[in-house]
C-alpha cells in the first residue's frame, strides 16, 4: 500500500483544493484529512458520516476543593504556570451555595498534563482526569472513504490525533484492499506534521511563488529530509509571480527535487471552492488540466519508488 501525503510549509497555498482535485482523479484509494486543527477537506468532498469516535488527549489536573489545604505546593512545582491562587469571590460571600470554592485553581488551557502536582500535593487533593480532546470520523464520499477529525478548541495533542487518523485510514485501506491513501497533511512543521510524515511513500509539497512561500518550502523540505521521506514539489499559482517561480525551480534543481506540477492561477479554482466541488470534477480549465498532468507524474513517481 502506498501513501501520498500532501503538505505545505504553510496554510493557504491551496493544498486542500489540490488534494480534493487529486481525490476526484485517483482510483481505488482511501482519503485522510490530517489537518485536525482546522479540517477543510470535508467541505469539498461532502462526506456522509458513518461513525463518530471520541478522542482522548492528555489528562488535566483537577483539584478537589474539599481536600485542598491551600498550602501552595502545587503552584510552586507546576512549571507551566497552570495553577494559581483562586481569585477571592467578589463581595467575599457566596456561601449561599454552601461552598467556599477552591483555594487554588487549575487553568486547563495551560495544564500540560504532566502530573507533577499530583505527586507533590501533601493532601492528595489533585487527580488527573482524562480529557475529551476531539472526535474522529469515518465517512463515505462520492470519491471514496474519508477518515477525518476535529480537535476540540484550544486543545493540544494534535500529533496524537493525526496518528489516530492515519492508523484508521490504513486499517480501512487494508479492509477495502485499496492500493493508495491520499492524505491532506497539516500545515507547518510542528508536531502534527511530524506525526503525518513518518512512513509515507511520497510527500507532495505545495508551495506558491512568494518570498514567504519559498522560505516555508525550504523548512518543510528539511523536515521531510530529517524523516527520510522523498519529496516532490507543486508550484501553485505559478504565473502570479513568474520570477519567484523560476527562483523556486532553481532551488529545487539545486536540491535535487523534482517539480511534479505547476498550476496556473485560474478563477475556476475559487469558483470550485465557493461551490464546494473538487476542481477536476467541475472544470476543464487550465488549472484542472495542470492538476491532471501532475497526477500522471505522481503515479509514475510512486511506481518508481515502489520498484526501488
Amino acid at each position: 500500500m502506498q501513501e501520498l501525503l500532501v503538505i505545505s510549509g504553510k496554510g493557504g497555498t491551496g493544498k486542500t483544493s489540490i488534494v480534493a482535485a487529486l481525490a476526484a482523479l485517483a482510483e481505488d484509494k482511501v482519503l485522510a484529512d490530517c489537518d485536525v486543527d482546522a479540517a477543510d477537506l470535508h467541505l469539498l468532498l461532502r462526506p456522509e458520516v458513518e461513525s463518530v469516535n471520541e478522542f482522548y488527549g492528555s489528562s488535566k489536573a483537577v483539584i478537589e476543593a474539599g481536600r485542598c489545604t491551600g498550602c501552595g505546593r502545587c503552584i510552586e512545582v507546576c512549571r507551566f504556570g497552570a495553577i494559581t491562587k483562586a481569585a477571592p469571590v467578589a463581595g467575599g460571600e457566596n456561601s449561599a451555595s454552601g461552598s467556599r470554592g477552591s483555594i487554588v485553581q487549575v487553568d486547563s488551557l495551560s495544564c500540560e498534563g504532566c502530573g507533577v502536582c499530583t505527586m507533590m500535593c501533601p493532601a492528595g487533593a489533585i487527580t488527573m482526569k482524562p480529557n475529551l480532546a476531539g472526535y474522529w470520523y469515518i465517512s463515505e464520499t462520492p470519491y471514496g472513504p474519508l477518515v477525518h477529525a476535529q480537535l476540540g478548541l484550544a486543545e493540544d495533542n494534535s500529533g496524537k490525533l493525526v496518528t489516530k487518523v492515519r492508523q484508521e485510514a490504513r486499517r480501512l485501506a487494508e479492509e477495502n484492499k485499496a492500493r493508495l491513501i491520499i492524505t491532506d497533511g497539516p500545515p507547518g512543521i510542528g508536531c502534527p506534521v511530524i506525526s503525518s510524515l513518518t512512513g509515507v511513500t511520497l510527500a507532495l509539497v505545495v508551495t506558491e511563488p512568494t518570498v514567504a512561500g519559498w522560505h516555508d518550502l525550504e523548512r518543510v523540505v528539511k523536515l521531510a529530509g530529517h524523516f527520510k521521506v522523498p519529496v516532490t514539489v507543486c508550484i501553485n499559482k505559478y504565473d502570479l509571480a513568474p520570477e519567484k517561480s523560476r527562483e523556486i525551480e532553481a532551488y529545487c534543481y539545486d536540491e535535487g527535487l523534482t517539480i511534479a506540477g505547476k498550476i496556473p492561477f485560474d478563477a475556476d479554482v475559487a469558483r470550485a471552492l465557493v461551490n464546494a466541488v473538487p476542481l477536476t470534477a467541475c472544470s476543464r480549465g487550465a488549472a484542472a488540466n495542470a492538476v491532471k498532468a501532475m497526477w500522471d507524474s505522481l503515479l509514475v513517481r510512486m511506481e518508481k519508488i515502489k520498484m526501488q
Partner: protein
C-alpha cells in the same frame, strides 16, 4: 496594548495585517512586532529587521547519572510524555519528547536525575526602522512550539502597541499566543474554508476570553457568507482588503501594501483606532 493577529488557518493574510498595521502606525507611536508563528516566522521577510541579538530557548531535560541509577523504572512510570524508557536496567531518554516538567527528577528515589538545558529553538530580536522586532523559531524536527512562543512573548513591552503574529490553527500554540492579549484580530477570507476556519477561531478566542473582531482579506474573491455570519454573531468587521493581482505581486516580492500603495495607510490607522475604541469600551463595561 497587546494585540494578537490570528486566523483559523494559515495563508489568510495574518502577516500582511501585522506588517502593514505596524508600518502605518510606527510614525505615530512606539510599535513592537513579535512574530510568534515559530514554525514558519515570515514577518521578517517583509519588515527586514536588522537582528542584534539571538538567544537560545531551552527546556530542562533529564540527565541520568548511571552510577546512582538502580534501574527501578520510577522515572519512566511518572513521565506522561514517554520521554524516558528503562531497558536492560538502563535509562534511555528521548529529549525531543520531553516537556521539561521535572517529574522524573522528583520521582527518582536515588537522586540519579539532574537536568540540563536542551535547545529547542531561538529567539532573535532587532530593529526594523522604528519598529522593535522579535521572532522565535523552533528547530526543525522539534514538536514543541509553546515554550518558544512564551519566550518571544516575554519580550513584550508595556508602552505603545505590541502586535503579535500568531501561529495558524486553534490548538495549543495559538492559545499560547492569544492568552493575555488585550485584543485579537481574526483574519479570514470569504470562502467556505474561510468561514469554516473563522468559526473555529471564534470558538477558540471566546474560550480564551479575549475581545476580538474580524478582518476580511481578498474580500472580492468569494461570497457573502462570512459577512452574514459576522452580522449574526455580532462580530465587528474592521477592515476589508479586496483581491487585486497587483497586491498579490507586491506580497510575492516581499513588499508591504502601505509602502507601495500609500492610500492604504489611512485604512490601517482607522483599523487601529477601531481596536482602541473597542478595547476601551470593553474596559468600561467590565469596570476596569
Amino acid at each position: 496594548m497587546l494585540v494578537t493577529v490570528a486566523s483559523g488557518k494559515g495563508g489568510t493574510g495574518k502577516t500582511t495585517i501585522v506588517t502593514n498595521l505596524a508600518l502605518a502606525l510606527a510614525r505615530k507611536m512606539p510599535v513592537q512586532v513579535l512574530d510568534c508563528d515559530v514554525e514558519e516566522p515570515n514577518a521578517h521577510l517583509f519588515l527586514e529587521p536588522v537582528f542584534q541579538e539571538e538567544e537560545e530557548v531551552t527546556l530542562p531535560v533529564p540527565e541520568v547519572d548511571n552510577t546512582k541509577c538502580n534501574g527501578c523504572g520510577k522515572c519512566s512510570e511518572v513521565c506522561a510524555f514517554h520521554a524516558l524508557a528503562v531497558a536492560g536496567g538502563k535509562v534511555i531518554t528521548f529529549p525531543e519528547m520531553c516537556h521539561g516538567c521535572g517529574g522524573c527528577a522528583i520521582a527518582c528515589p536515588t537522586g540519579a536525575i539532574s537536568e540540563k538545558p536542551h535547545r529547542i529553538g531561538i529567539v532573535a530580536r532587532g530593529q526594523a526602522g522604528r519598529i522593535d522586532f522579535a521572532h522565535g523559531k523552533i528547530d526543525v524536527g522539534v514538536p514543541l512550539a509553546p515554550p518558544v512562543i512564551r519566550a518571544v512573548k516575554r519580550l513584550a513591552r508595556k508602552e505603545g502597541l505590541t502586535l503579535i503574529d500568531a501561529p495558524p490553527g486553534t490548538s495549543c500554540p495559538v492559545v499560547a499566543a492569544v492568552k493575555d492579549s488585550d485584543f485579537c484580530l481574526l483574519v479570514t477570507e470569504p470562502t467556505p474554508f474561510g468561514l469554516n476556519d473563522l468559526k473555529l477561531a471564534v470558538g477558540m478566542v471566546r474560550e480564551v476570553g479575549v475581545p476580538f473582531a474580524v478582518v476580511i482579506n481578498r474580500s472580492t474573491l468569494g461570497d457573502l457568507r462570512v459577512e452574514r455570519y459576522c452580522r449574526q454573531e455580532r462580530i465587528p468587521i474592521l477592515l476589508k482588503i479586496p483581491f487585486d493581482k497587483r497586491y498579490a505581486a507586491t506580497y510575492a516580492r516581499g513588499k508591504c501594501l502601505v509602502e507601495e500603495y500609500p492610500d492604504w495607510v489611512p485604512p490601517f490607522i482607522g483599523l487601529w483606532q477601531e481596536i482602541e475604541r473597542l478595547v476601551s469600551q470593553r474596559a468600561r463595561a467590565t469596570g476596569n
